[in-house]
Symmetry: C3
Subunit: 321 residues, 3 copies
């Protein structure tokens, strides 16, 4: 098997593109380091200066204020200089190619690119190119098409480890539009690598991806059955544009069969936690009583996301090609 | 009377939402502290580090580059990290509720929200919610609908005090579209609290708000009469979209009756100052000769606005819930 | 001859608006100082603090993410506070005049304005006004209409000097849409002042400006002849909107006659360098083999551009009116 482009010759993480090919040791190293930053934050220390003088470019070919903001805050807390580029609005409008844009930004003394793109694989294309022309620059995938969203998966793993301690006894259910979810895909790979023995997907047949059994994932079309005895429920966002297509009858109908309500949640373990990557559609994939309830750790995920992104950026910055 | 949500249990300012309910001592404390920052600035000291490591979010649900910039500069001069969010363009487009957006940003380790919203009361809604979920975060109203614009009022008060020394002998006239002006509303409350004995409003009947007499304000429909012997003239912006409605015949007609010209200004005291919150419509509510004349302190207001916003941010940052 | 508005009473550079009127000593001083910043950068020192506490406003009346980013990075590497203003989207929409906008921003304690505007001469208008109202503020032209783009010309000169050492023996060809190019205009003035004896322009007649001979520039309509024995080729961007007008038949036809290919380039000296201000239209004004070839220094130009802009900002910041 060819070595992943995410690792350098010494097996160190040099780009974070996906959780798919990452060894368990690297996942654990990131989670451990994120704990350090959570502690620093609690001590109310001022910004760390680990990345002082470094330039981090947020290259968002697809708009996402929320995700962009979490990376911006993480970078600033490390004292990096952050440059935000809404790339769709600029050079691509002038007909410049993606790789010419990358070459130019690399020439502006960049140290790291945080890339979001609506095409699956775009961060890989950029990483392969950067390895040729400017291998000291690190690529961080902030979501590419339906493919991967590795920092979201890492903060999900951090959240699960924080509340459940160990991965080896867990039953985890991902509920909703798994087919279109890059978060679900990245979560499944990370959960599997970290040793979760029972990973479940609950979705209507029209939103159920193929190839689940090869990944060791159990499919359920019935929500009650899927939630039976789970430790962790990860509710997924149902995107509006998919709610009025051939795939789904109506938001009301979807909520009736797949909405996470208090009553449904009783099938899970009493101390099960409820997660969601946000933004939520209240009353569609999740009931407000559950979203704001005692088992919800949804906002804790957001806070942990800053520490996890700080950890990834700091670790990448210390690696040489 | 219930205590204002702007104050904490010890009577300290914890959110700045309006000048309406603020005690005189707090208004004066802000003005006094702004003087300190004006002095620091004149000494050409580098940025103060009072807010180093703190994250200030500019949440602009209504676009305003000018106002956003003044808050951004003030925050940076205090060494805060500033994150600009044009919120209308982001999560709300994905159907997320206002309070879910607030919850998420609060979870990103925010210390202060500067909020601008086209709905009156939105900053109050946010402050009430924040007091429940993250009471360490301070809310700063940067303009909400037709309701309030407290930092503009405070910089207006700072300007008046700077040039006139004491509030207790003053005659102040607000001229123009008072009905739609959040600046006028906030100015009137502040002037009244600070002890100005003669507050006047000059406007056509169609732009004259009700309830002025309860506030101790004298209405005038004749500009010459309203300006008679005043110490301070605050000209208000006439918004373009209101110039061609049932309310007003035409910009020319408006200027003829309510435009501030040199000739009109002669009714005021010889040392009267002319103020305007900007941006100006030259030739509509104010003549260029007056706007650029010796009595105009319009640009001084802008400079003082930085010091006043620094003072408010610094004072808020020192208050615990 | 009246003294240039770019220089103060002591002959020092106080605004950078054009290369046209600048004495050779000032051009050389900027190039020399840029070398210092290039060295600092190579030593991997953290940001210099020459502009700490200073506020630089990027006033882009015309959108350009790429150019704005280079100025933003340069300013941050000098530890300045940078405020980005996309001005077309803000106050001008509210009917405020250009100079009222400038007055307001000046009152916000600005130290430098980086101005881009689609109207030739706008930065001069601003500089003349600033000299009256706030002469401590420096104006830096980041491109005005078809008139000038002085920092691009300076980085081009820096690049030429870096690779060719001395200007006095050089043959330099500018190829393409010279008529609409502010880069070409600024390059020609700088090359001439720095003593380049043979400056050539290669363009179809429809894109050839008048007045070249007065500037000592030799016009060529034949690419092979124009490239004969040159040391430096500066390819110019052909703007898309001009490709389908009366001026040009088609991109393919243009490439056939004026596209820079390997074969064409053989007419130049074997060690000739190829430059382009970007963004490139590959296959229109330049062939990919040349753009990515051994003689291309196009990305080096981008890197040098950061150092040159740092040098200009630092030199301006040290000059008093």
């Amino acid at each position: 098997m060819p070595r992943s482009i995410q690792l350098n010759g010494r097996g160190e993480l040099t780009h974070l593109l996906s959780t798919e090919e990452l060894p368990r040791a690297i996942l654990q190293k990131i989670l451990d380091h994120a704990s350090d930053f959570l502690d620093i934050d609690r001590m109310e220390v001022k910004n760390a200066d680990f990345l002082a003088g470094q330039s981090i470019f947020n290259l968002f070919f697809e708009n996402s204020t929320r995700t962009r903001t979490t990376f911006e805050i993480a970078a600033r807390k490390l004292s990096a200089d952050v440059v935000n580029l809404n790339v769709s609005a600029s050079s691509t409008a002038k007909g410049e190619s993606l790789l010419d844009t990358i070459d130019n930004l690399a020439a502006m003394k960049a140290d790291m690119f945080v890339v979001r793109h609506n095409q699956a694989g775009a961060p890989y294309l950029i990483a392969r190119h950067i390895n040729q022309v400017a291998p000291h620059i690190h690529i961080l995938n902030a979501g590419d098409g339906r493919h991967a969203h590795p920092t979201q998966a890492l903060l999900d793993m951090f959240t699960i480890r924080h509340f459940k301690g160990d991965f080896h006894q867990l039953r985890v259910a991902l509920v909703g539009d798994v087919l279109h979810s890059r978060v679900a895909r990245s979560d499944i790979h990370a959960l599997s690598t970290l040793g979760v023995p029972d990973i479940r997907v609950v979705a209507p047949l029209t939103l159920m991806p193929s190839g689940l059994s090869e990944m060791g994932v159990k499919p359920f079309t019935n929500l009650d059955e899927g939630l039976e005895g789970v430790d962790v429920v990860i509710a997924l966002r149902l995107q509006n544009e998919r709610m009025r297509g051939a795939m789904l009858p109506s938001p009301q109908e979807y909520f009736k069969h797949y909405g996470l309500t208090e009553q449904r949640l009783r099938r899970a373990k009493p101390d099960a936690i409820v997660m969601h990557p946000g933004p939520m559609n209240r009353g569609v994939e999740i009931d407000s009583v559950v979203a704001d309830g005692a088992q919800s750790v949804i906002l804790t995920q957001v806070t942990f996301g800053i520490a996890v992104r700080m950890a990834v950026m700091h670790l990448l910055s210390e690696v040489r090609p």
